[in-house]
């Protein structure tokens, strides 16, 4: 097995301890439970839009960022905290391989949890009379967001001891409050990029247009979402590689 795959394998194991499996598994199912609960009390005329919002917004705006940033900042952050980083660095592998492996592992695990959440939401949507064809767009958008959060927070976890707190401030203050006030910043909101890709590929019967308000001024399309994701990921991975190369492994 190549070093890259070996790091991915061990990191996936690190990130999927029993507590995390249960905690993040339940967290990702909360939006589905919320959707089911609200559907019982919703007025039939508001059902489409209200449930449409509930189908995607809590999941993309809170659950995916929280899950991804905590997992990704553990990728290299836990190695620093547990002082196991030397085990990786004193090997005949370049730093880029380490960062790419950590990002892949974090994205895989985050996307795994997100797929559970997306499936739960889609099945609830089906139970409410919708169809299962909302699942692939949700999964794709969620995966996109997971990759971006992973790339960003593997870097942040490598630099900051309190990366999770910094991440939560970013998500709750910048992505939620600030972008709401200054919609021009929407394109720097990672979950909005994932949600944009999801809405752009949702089936026609889904009230995607009505949800555009949640995205600020950013106009969703799959192509632009992919470009932004690729750009962010490349920049973050490169920055993290340089930092890992140039800084001391204390």
């Amino acid at each position: 097995m190549t070093p890259l795959l070996a790091i991915v394998r061990v990191t996936v194991r690190q990130l999927t301890g029993r507590t995390r499996l249960i905690g993040f598994g339940l967290l990702n199912l909360v939006p589905a439970a919320l959707l089911a609960a609200v559907s019982r009390s919703a007025h039939p005329s508001a059902l489409d839009l209200e449930l449409g919002v509930l189908l995607v917004v809590p999941f993309f705006a809170l659950v995916i960022p929280t899950t991804s940033l905590i997992l990704a900042s553990s990728g290299l952050g836990d190695e620093r905290r547990d002082k196991t980083l030397s085990f990786l660095l004193l090997r005949p592998i370049n730093r880029l391989e380490i960062v790419v492996a950590k990002t892949i592992a974090a994205a895989l695990v985050s996307a795994g949890f997100a797929s559970v959440g997306a499936l739960g939401l889609s099945l609830t949507w089906v139970a409410l009379g919708g169809s299962l064809d909302v699942f692939p767009p949700m999964l794709a958008g969620a995966a996109l967001a997971c990759v971006m959060y992973s790339a960003v927070f593997v870097l942040v976890g490598n630099v900051l001891a309190k990366a999770t707190i910094a991440g939560l401030i970013y998500v709750l203050f910048f992505e939620t409050v600030l972008v709401q006030e200054l919609p021009r910043l929407a394109s720097a909101s990672l979950w909005r990029i994932g949600l944009g890709a999801t809405l752009a590929t949702m089936p026609e019967h889904f009230p995607a247009r009505a949800l555009l308000g949640a995205l600020g001024e950013w106009i969703p399309s799959v192509g632009s979402a992919l470009v932004v994701m690729a750009t962010i990921t490349v920049i973050m991975v490169a920055a993290c590689t340089i930092l890992l190369k140039r800084t001391d492994a204390l």
Partner: protein
Amino acid sequence: MSTIEIQERHDVVTQLRDPAHAARPTVEVHGVSKWFGTKVAVSDVTCSFGPGITGLLGPNGAGKTTLLRTITGLLRPSEGRVSIFGTDPRKDPSVYRRIGFVPEDDAVYGHLSARQLVRYAAELSRHDASPAVVETAIARVNLLADADRPIVEYSKGMRQRAKVAAALVNEPDLLVLDEPLNGADPTQRAVLIAIFHELAAAGRTIIVSSHVLAEVERMTDRVIAILDGKLAAAGHIRAIRAAMTHIPHKVRIEADDPRILARALVDVPAVVGVHFQDGGLEVETSNLAELGKAIPAITVEKSVRVTRFEPVDASLESVFRHLLSIRR
């Protein structure tokens, strides 16, 4: 302390800095300094390491771990340079194929078993990670019986052995060990020391840092002592002790008539003091060689038979104690 005394002690330290270089160096440290903000952890250290075991000594906080981490490339030197097998490890990671490192910290992946850890180490080193190779490395440190238990359940000594197995799996030419015997029981220590001797005999370079001097003494007689981040002494333990001429050497001498011998020794210029102890003599001398030359003449002249002549403060511990006293 007078200026003259300070100067004398400074001279002794300077004298002790004499070549800290291995005959066939595999690791070279040139003028390395490392500071963190305003704290200087390592200051202008120049030395080299070659095949065999070299002990890196120093009290806690002396800079041993910082120096080892700088040598391995984990830390970037603030000044100076390090080369391992002719390569700067920070510029060319391929040199890590030939290096095994056992960190001081209790740094190990607790969720993995020893078998998984050793396999992971082999994979990361681009080495054969087949079950047979992994098994051999684990067997070497006597950990086979517990190889499949998670490391988090291990005792400290077992974790140390797991780390050593992981460091050995790629058959390194250079083994860097930071306090490798911490937490190991006497049997485990003996096993690990035997492994290090075996590797040294096979021509591998082994750098072992420890503050337990008796253990270092069991492993090697070549040491590099670090005090306050500076190279305080280097070389063979006896040679270092011999260079400390300002501190009298202590020699235990046993003879059939110690009283006659003591009276004769008092007249030898190199003898600083003579004490009766346990039926023999403890002689303090400023020049061990001169005392050695004087003894045969005395035995002939005074018809005394000397049955034992043994320097008693050339142990690593006493040498180190002297070095610490110089620092103070």
